[in-house]
């Protein structure tokens, strides 16, 4: 399989109603790492991820994958901060990405059932997805994103509304995906989570990339006052 990476952003900006939400940003996302997109609320993390995933159109500049558009979108997935559940059963939600792309119901169910075991959600297959707890829903959303083995996975604050145990579950699944070779870009404003997971860190502030560095360098030798303050636990506004 040809890789869809690197993904390159070239002087990209996003504006809404004349207000600049993001950019100008230029960066390359290369294979095999977990990048944490870090920054306070409203910094533009979601906008950046949605831009890369094609849910937001750039006002100027270019977003480009190494593969043609159609192929690039077929090999990436997105987990939203508030999971979007189809009005179907747990199993139905998990099968959907497979059956929507021409895989038979029987085969999709087989695969989905294995995933449910991994999630610890076996026994819930005929339950409505909307009746799951917040943590279970987010796990299901993550598995639904992973079930087609995407090369690139976007996670938008997947643990923002979860308690410790659920966060641990999600982080375990993320770690397994990462070990399986999935390239991950994950937004968070949780410093501890960034320290636990990051290979490299991209720090956003007011829509601009202030730093992009390997995790070790980022945490041990921050370059800007804003990052120093953020790492200190001070309020960065």
């Amino acid at each position: 399989m040809v890789s869809i990476l690197p993904l390159s952003l070239n002087d990209v900006t996003v504006e809404r109603d004349g207000k600049r939400l993001l950019g100008p940003v230029s960066l390359d996302i290369r294979a095999d790492a977990l990048t944490i997109v870090l920054g306070p609320n409203g910094a533009g993390k979601s906008t950046l991820l949605r831009l890369m995933h094609g849910l937001v159109k750039p006002t100027s500049g270019r977003v480009r994958f190494a593969a043609p558009r159609g192929e690039a979108y077929a090999h990436q997935a997105f987990v939203f901060q508030t999971p979007i559940m189809l009005r179907r059963t747990v199993l139905g939600n998990l099968c959907y990405p497979l059956t929507a792309h021409g895989i038979s119901h029987a085969e999709a169910e087989k695969k989905a059932l294995t995933w449910l075991k991994t999630l610890g959600l076996d026994g819930h297959e005929t339950q409505r997805a909307s009746q799951l707890s917040g943590g279970e829903r987010q796990k299901l959303a993550l598995a639904r994103a992973l079930i087609r083995k995407p090369e690139l996975l976007f996670l938008d604050e997947p643990c923002a509304n979860l308690d410790g145990a659920a966060t641990q579950d999600i982080e375990r699944l993320i770690g397994e995906a990462r070990a399986g070779g999935t390239r991950i870009l994950m937004a968070t404003h949780d410093l501890g989570q960034a320290r636990r997971l990051a290979d490299d860190v991209l720090f956003l502030h007011h829509g601009e990339v202030l730093e992009h560095a390997p995790a070790k360098a980022f945490f041990e030798a921050p370059q800007t006052d804003e990052v120093k303050a953020f790492l200190n636990g001070d309020l960065v506004i």
Partner: protein, 234 residues
């Protein structure tokens, strides 16, 4: 007073003995309206979905036309269909006027905007909910439409039932294009109108009972459907 009482009594008798005329007329009503609902739904549901998810140049225009059609008095629809199907009209050669087909055509025109409009609203709400996910999952347009139709199927069934309720009780249009011909195009509503004007209340009241029962059944089903929708809160 006595006349009404006698009418009710013989109407009751007509129903319990399954009077041939009454059954024939009620069945024709059902066949005409169910056919019309099926055809209208086949047009209206994809149209509703198309209107809900698309950003087309003519979308607003189509919605405006639908709303205008919904407000159209059925007799006017009947008149237009009559003119189209009459001997000198553009479709005159097909010889459909005064047949059940003409009645079905008129009802399809009346019901399609109604069903499409209800379907459009519920699919639009679901699309707002699903939008990011379905885009993210790289689904095709037809896949999205299929998913939205399937996942809002209860609301769509409600729309179809509303169409049935409207169609089964409609009298103006089908009277004009069907002609209320005995054993050919006579249905419950037109039969009631005729029998009442003749002062022959037994059949009119009997058919009235059947009509009310059907309308009740439809409304109760709609109520239950939307009730479970709310309670289950998918």
């Amino acid at each position: 007073m006595l006349e009404i009482w006698l009418g009710i009594k013989s109407a009751f008798w007509l129903i319990v003995t399954l009077d041939a005329d009454l059954i024939e007329i009620a069945c024709r009503s059902l066949v005409v309206t169910l056919s019309a609902v099926a055809i209208a739904a086949a047009i209206a549901l994809p149209l509703g979905a198309w209107l809900a998810i698309g950003r087309y140049r003519f979308r607003r225009l189509v919605i405006a036309v639908l709303n205008a059609l919904m407000g159209l008095p059925p007799v006017v629809v009947g008149l237009v269909v009559y003119l189209m199907l009459s001997r000198s009209g553009p479709f005159g050669v097909m010889g459909l006027l005064f047949t059940p087909w003409a009645m079905i055509i008129a009802q399809v025109i009346i019901l399609t905007p109604l069903i499409a409009s209800i379907a459009h609203q519920s699919i639009r709400d679901l699309w707002a909910e699903y939008h990011d996910l379905l885009i993210s999952l790289n689904t095709s347009r037809s896949q999205r439409i299929k998913t939205l139709l399937w996942d809002s199927r209860r609301a769509l069934l409600t729309a179809a039932l509303a169409g049935f309720g409207r169609g089964i009780g409609e009298v103006g249009a089908i009277m004009i294009v069907g002609g209320n011909i005995d054993h050919a195009t006579r249905v419950m509503t037109t039969a009631i109108a005729l029998e009442t004007s003749k002062g022959d209340f037994a059949l009119a009241i009997g058919l009235g009972f059947v009509l009310i029962a059907m309308a009740f059944a439809v409304n109760i089903t709609i109520h239950m459907l939307s009730g479970t929708e709310v309670r289950d809160r998918w």
